[in-house]
Amino acid sequence: MSDITTLSEAVEELVHDGDTLALEGFTHLIPFAAGHEVIRQGHIELTLVRMTPDLLYDQMIGMGCASGLVFSYGGNPGVGSLHRFRDAIENGWPSALEVEEHSHAGMANRYAASAAGLPMAVMRGYVGTDLMAHTQVEEIECPFTGEKLVAVPALDLDVAIVHAQEADREGNVQLWGIPGVQKEAVLGARRSLVTVERIVERLEPRPGAVVIPGWAVDAVVEAPAGSLPSYSLGITERDNDFYRAWDKLSRDRDEFRAWMDEHVIEGAPA
C-alpha cells in the first residue's frame, strides 16, 4: 500500500539532489505539478530522463535543476523548438547539460528493460546512423540466426514520477487514454510517486485503463489539474494555446525566469 501524502512531502522524501529522475507521460498526463514542486524545492544536479522533454523539462532545465538529460525527442510538439533546452545545449545556460540521446524505440526498450529488471533490451535499429557513435548502444548477435541486432542498456532510475486520473485510498492507481511508458517508468525505478487528479473511494474499471497496484508505488498525491498544460483524458483538456505561447515566453532568459517566478515559484500550493 502506497503512502497518500502531500506533494511537498512526497517530493522531499523521494527526490534528492543528484538523482536520476524520470517524469513520464507521452504528450498525455505529463506530471507538471510534481515537476514544479521539484523546481520549488531547488533540486540540482538531476539527471532528467524523458522520451519527450516537452515544456516541463524545458522549465526544469531553464531553472537549473539538471546536469544531465536522457531523451529521444526534444521539441515543442507541433510548435517548434524548446528554447531553454536549446540554450542549455548550445550555450550552457544556466549550466552545462550532458546529453544522452536515443531514438523513441531505444528509449521505450530501455524503460521496458528497467521494468523487467534486466540490464538491457535487444531490438533492431541504430545501425547506419550517427546516433550509434554518440550514445549507448552495442551490436549483439542472435545466437540462433546470426542476425546482428543491437542492445540498449536499461535505464537506471532513482525516481519515477507520473500523473494519473485516479487512485483509491489504498493508493491503487488507474490511468486511461494514451498510456505511454508510465507503467514501465514506475516499475523500473527504485522509488515512485504518482500524482492523481482525484482520490476516489473505489476505482471503477475503465476501458483501456492501466492499473498499477498501490503496493508497487511508494507515494500517491492528489494534485487536481496536475498535468496542465498537458492533459488528463476525460478530466482536463490540453492547453494548446499555452504550448504555442511558450514558444515566445521561453525565448528570452529574463522573460522566462520572470514567468517561472510568478507562476511556479510564487505559485506554490499551501
Binding site: H28, L82, S103, A105, P179
Partner: protein
Amino acid sequence: MATEAPAAATAAEIQTVVAARLLRAARSVFIGVGRPSTAAILARELYNPDLVLVYESGTIGAKPRRIPLSIGDGELAETAEAVVSVPEMFNYWIGPGRIQVAFLGAAQVDRLGNLNSTVIGDYEHPKTRLPGAGGAPEIALGCPEVIVIAPHDARTFVERLDFLTTVAAPSAVITDLGVLEPDPETKEMTLTRLHPGVEVGTVREATGWDLAVADAVTTTEDPSAEELAALRELIAR
C-alpha cells in the same frame, strides 16, 4: 448568386494534396504532426475512408476530425481502434512492418534520402540543436515504404548531412516544388515531377547538390476544386 472563385493553390497546399494522393490505396500510414498529419487526414476524408492512421503516441486507427497539434491529443485516443503503450507500438506494430507507409519530415535530406533531425553544425557544439531522432530511425527501418515530406530549399536538401539521424531510402520525397524519386540504378533522389508553374531551374537552385533530373519530368495535376476546398475546410476546423 455568384460565388467568389477560390484562391489558387499555394505551394504548401499542393505539397499536402500530392502527399494525400499517395495514400489513395494505402492500408495504413504512420504520421507525425504537421503537414504529414494534415495530408493523411485529408486522404482519409477524400479518397480512402479505410486508411488506418497510426501515431507514435500509441493510437492505432485514429479518426481525427481536426488537425491535432500534438501526436498525443485526446481526440486521437478517443477515436482510435486501439491504444497501446509506446513499447508495444514500436515492438509489436512498427518494428515488424505492420504499418505500410511512413510519412517523415526532417531538417536536412541528402541525395539518398537520408535524414537529419538532430543538429546543425557539430554534434558536440551545435549551431542549432534540433529536437532529435524521435521515432524516425526505427519507423524508417520498419515500415515497408517511407515517404519524406520537406520544404524545398538548399538548407534542407544538402550535399552532406551534419548528422545522419535516419537511414530512410524513401520511395518519394514530396516538396513544395515537386517530387523526387530514387533512380532505379543509383538510388539517388531524382526530380521526376514538378508542381504546376515550377521550373526545373528553380528546383536545382533550391537543392544543395547537383540534382539529377529524370528524362521525362511530369507535371503534378492541379489540386481539384474539391481537394482544395476539403483541405482548406480541414485546416479551418
